[in-house]
Structure formats: structure tokens, C-alpha cells
Symmetry: C2
Subunit: 141 residues, 2 copies
């Protein structure tokens, strides 16, 4: 990747592969999802189904919105509500072969984008940080 | 800014000015900080002191880490602990006159950077999104 021109770089060259990505499953209760988010320190993570297909993403804000009631914090809802009920499945995804420009376009409004294969199985994530590091490299050459 | 070359753009050209930035004060309890974060939807926001000087940032993870005990969620701590006790004040800041390259360097490891004037008063924030939009523009010209 060192000597590739920016327009020859693909999303596959820059993504974090799936085994290094923290994620949750749609069947998990919000209690488990919140634990994964707080332990990993991430604002949001990918959501997969039991066959490892990409479904969407879940973040701290949507979970906290479920439990912050008017009068008090309704902690018990964390074990009642499943990820499936609040997952954000309106998230764009890319493939490994997508171009650098498609990756840049996608992260303008999203901190990360999920990468899937042609059958929809989860391959990894493309982060803003990866695009920015590449941008910095291209400014110095 | 339209017709400036990327190396002539300054952080002041790209920042979101302070009146549009959600923030909390160091004297606030974590309960108020969490409310601002959930209502605004942001992962983290700037922390200022009573004279509007920049102190640091606070995010959802550090607040949740305070209340997620081993056995249960210790909600009462939200009103006991102040922002001042958990603020992250190890955050770099820039000035309006800082260059585009200094801005790009700073956001590689931080989703946003605070902009302060020469006396340390809060001027605004530089976000990754602003840098990425400028990057995209520069790729098309
Ligand atoms: N443990 C850690 N060590 C060092 N730096 C850390 C870190 N956690 C967060 N950061 C820094 O903070 C940025 C924003 O993280 P956030 O969790 O809001 O947003 C993250 C998170 O939602 C997701 N993400 C990144 N890496 C992930 C992973 N391994 N597993 C799951 N989600 C990940 O992608 C978003 C953008 O990530 P990006 O790397 O561009 O940007 C990250 C990174 O620069
Ligand atoms: N209400 C909203 N409407 C539309 N898009 C939204 C949004 N809230 C978040 N986003 C999108 O999600 C990205 C990450 O937001 P996050 O809250 O983790 O991280 C944010 C947040 O911590 C902070 N931030 C951004 N704008 C802020 C503001 N007006 N006041 C306080 N903090 C702000 O700077 C970080 C990076 O912001 P950036 O714009 O690069 O990137 C934002 C933006 O692309």
C-alpha cells in the first residue's frame, strides 16, 4: 500500500478486519450491548445476526435514550429490550473492492462504515481515522 | 474559502464557532453532563470553566464507567460526582490561525479539537467532518 497512488487504494486495503472489530448480535439484550460499548470504549459498534451477516449499528445514545425516563433512569429496561428493537439498519455499507473515493464519501457523515462481501457477510470496518491517515500521507508526497 | 488552496486554509475557516457548540461546565454534576450528551446526541463535548476558558472534554464512556458498578448501576453517583473530577484535560487545542495541516494532524487521533484564543478562552471546535469535506473538495479540483 506504501507505493500505491491514492486512487488505486481500495477499501479492503484500509479496513480493520472483522476479527479485530467489537460487535454485538441482534439477539442480545441492551444490557450486554452497553457492556460491550463501555468495555471497548467505542461510541457505536456493528450489529450482526447469528450467521455473521451485517445488520446495522448500535451506539450508546440510543441505549441511553431507552432508559432515561422523565422521572428516573429505568435500568430494568436494559434486560427487557433486545438490540434487534433499536438497531440502526439505515447504514450504508461498502465492499472490499470499493474505491478510496467511495470510502471518503461514505465517512463524511459516518465515523465508520461496515464492509460486507457479496452475500452480505461482515468483513470489517472502514474508519475515518484510516482515511485521514491516508490523506495525511498523500499531502506529504 | 471556496477559492483558497488547501494550504492557505486556516483552522478558523473550518471551525464550528462556540455559540453552536454544546458544552458543559466543570462545576456541573455528571447527571447534567449526561443529559447534555444524550439530548445533543454527541459522544463527547467540550468542558469550560465559569469564565468560558477551555478546560478539556467529557464523554459518555467516562460517565458510564463511574456508575457501572460490579453488582448494579450506581445511579446516585451521577448527582454526587462533578465534571471537574472526571474531565479529560489531556486534550490538544489549536488557535484560529493554525494551519490546515496542523488541523489534519490533530484530528487523526481525536474526533474533534477545541480552538482557543491566546488567553485560553473557548472559540469553537474543529471536527473530523470539516477536514474530510475539505479533503473531498480538494480531490475534485
Ligand atoms: N481504544 C481506542 N484506542 C485508540 N483510539 C481510540 C480508541 N477508541 C476510540 N479511539 C479514537 O476515537 C475515535 C472515535 O471513536 P468512536 O468510538 O467515537 O468511534 C469509532 C467506533 O464507533 C468504531 N470503531 C473503531 N474501531 C473499532 C473496533 N475495533 N471495533 C468496533 N468499532 C470500532 O469506529 C468509529 C471511528 O473510529 P476511528 O478509529 O476513526 O476514531 C476513533 C479513534 O481515533
Ligand atoms: N446531530 C447530528 N447531526 C448530524 N450528524 C451528526 C450529529 N451528531 C453526530 N453526527 C455525525 O456523527 C459524527 C460523530 O459524532 P460524535 O458525537 O461521535 O463526535 C462529535 C462530537 O463529539 C463533537 N461535536 C460535533 N459537533 C458538535 C457540536 N455542535 N457541539 C458539541 N460537540 C460537537 O465532535 C465530534 C466529531 O463530529 P463530526 O461532525 O466530525 O462527526 C459527527 C457527525 O458526522
Amino acid at each position: 500500500i506504501q507505493d500505491k497512488h491514492i486512487t488505486d487504494i481500495s477499501v479492503g486495503d484500509l479496513m480493520i478486519s472483522s476479527e479485530k472489530v467489537a460487535h454485538v448480535q441482534i439477539s442480545n439484550p441492551l444490557e450486554h450491548a452497553l457492556l460491550v460499548l463501555v468495555k471497548s470504549g467505542y461510541s457505536a459498534v456493528p450489529v450482526l445476526d447469528s450467521s455473521y451477516k451485517f445488520v446495522g449499528t448500535i451506539g450508546k445514545t440510543v441505549i441511553l435514550n431507552q432508559i432515561l425516563g422523565l422521572e428516573r433512569i429505568e435500568i430494568e429496561k436494559l434486560s427487557d429490550i433486545l438490540v434487534q428493537e433499536v438497531v440502526d439498519n439505515n447504514i450504508p455499507s461498502l465492499s472490499r473492492d470499493s474505491s478510496f473515493m467511495e470510502g471518503l464519501d461514505a465517512v463524511i457523515n459516518h465515523p465508520f462504515i461496515c464492509v460486507v462481501d457479496k452475500d452480505g457477510y461482515f468483513d470489517g470496518i472502514l474508519t475515518r481515522r484510516a482515511i485521514l491517515k491516508q490523506f495525511k500521507k498523500s499531502m506529504y508526497t
